[in-house]
């Protein structure tokens, strides 16, 4: 019974018109939950959590940096997953989802990079180190930007979707290889690892703001994804209407 209803719900998402009505209904509550999570996360992150005994107050940067980095990777996974579904099942909503996820993922990748740099300056004494994690994150940003650029250059949505899906999937295949090569390169050049985030155990007082912020960021991602998917569906409808007008 319950499996039937979930598959029915998935089918509702498969149809653009049903998607519009369903997403329109859940968007408001989702935005409210996102705001609540982020505000409570901010309260704990800035006011109700202790400074770290080693990193002092800079540990508060972590509450933005780590969720951003997490979303940067989740965004690419969503993008690649949706691309695979779009490529194999020719599913129009999957293409819309992949396209809409890219700018959000790129923005969070950028945020993770800059906050990492702002964290690195007081911790390592320099704005940038060619550490494996930072370098991989930078390359991830390039992958996002290339994907967005490809969508922007090809005008016809159906054609752009298939090309972009190929790029996203090859990228997803390459991300582990690139990451491995960068780690390998890093150990070659500086055997001692620089800095381990947070240490082996995170105190419970830090876990609360971190989890709240991570959840809030994730909800923000999903809410934004829905808004952008709705806009993209409308954009295609506009395109269809304009083409129809040109035909008449």
């Amino acid at each position: 019974m319950s499996t039937l209803s979930t598959s029915q719900r998935l089918q509702a998402f498969a149809n653009p018109t049903r998607f519009m009505s369903l997403s329109g209904r859940i968007l408001g509550p989702m935005a409210a939950v996102t705001a609540l999570l982020l505000l409570s996360g901010l309260y704990f992150a800035l006011l109700d959590s202790p400074p770290d005994y080693q990193q002092g107050e800079t540990v508060r940067i972590m509450y933005v940096h780590v969720p951003s980095a997490w979303l940067a990777m989740m965004g690419y996974m969503i993008m690649a997953g949706a691309s695979a579904i779009g490529l194999i099942f020719r599913h129009p909503l999957a293409d819309v989802c992949a396209k809409s996820a890219a700018p959000i993922g790129a923005a969070f990748t950028f945020l993770a990079l800059v906050t990492g740099s702002l964290w690195g300056k007081p911790m390592w004494g320099t704005w940038w180190v060619w550490d494996a994690r930072l370098t991989s994150m930078l390359i991830l940003l390039f992958l996002y930007l290339g994907y967005i650029a490809l969508w922007a250059t090809i005008e016809e949505p159906a054609r752009a979707a298939r090309g972009a899906a190929v790029l996203a999937l090859v990228g997803a295949l390459n991300v582990p290889i690139i990451h491995y090569s960068v780690v390998w390169w890093n150990t070659l050049h500086q055997p001692a690892s620089v800095f381990r985030m947070g240490g082996p155990t995170i105190a419970a007082s830090m876990l609360t703001p971190l989890m709240l912020m991570a959840l809030g960021f994730t909800m923000l991602f999903v809410t934004l994804l829905l808004v952008r998917m709705r806009a993209e569906i409308l954009r295609r409808r506009v395109r269809g209407l304009l083409l129809a007008k040109a035909d008449m």
């Binding site: 653009p16 800035l46 006011l47 400074p51 002092g56 107050e57 800079t58 508060r60 940067i61 933005v64 940096h65 951003s68 129009p92 700018p103 959000i104 923005a107 969070f108 950028f110 945020l111 800059v114 906050t115 702002l118 964290w119 300056k121 007081p122 949505p157 159906a158 923000l220 934004l224 808004v227 952008r228 709705r230 806009a231 409308l234 954009r235 295609r236 409808r237 506009v238 395109r239 269809g240 209407l241 304009l242 083409l243 129809a244 007008k245 035909d247 008449m248």
Partner: protein
């Protein structure tokens, strides 16, 4: 209060992080909503102008896309 803004001497790093995060989030939300409103307006303009015939034509266009 002043101590809160001082951030143990790391104010120059902690506050830009939160400021930038706010900027990115507000920018993303604002851009997404503006784009959504724009497309919504365009659709209603085109649909009211063209009437039912164009809507049917648009639907066939969408299905082949």
């Amino acid at each position: 209060m002043a101590e809160f803004f001082f951030m143990g001497g790391y104010a120059a790093y902690v506050w830009p992080v939160y400021g930038l995060a706010l900027l990115v989030v507000v920018g993303l939300v604002g851009q997404s909503l503006l784009d959504y409103r724009r497309q919504l307006r365009l659709v209603s303009e085109l649909e009211s102008k063209a009437g039912g015939r164009a809507r049917r034509a648009a639907r066939t266009h969408r299905s082949d896309a």
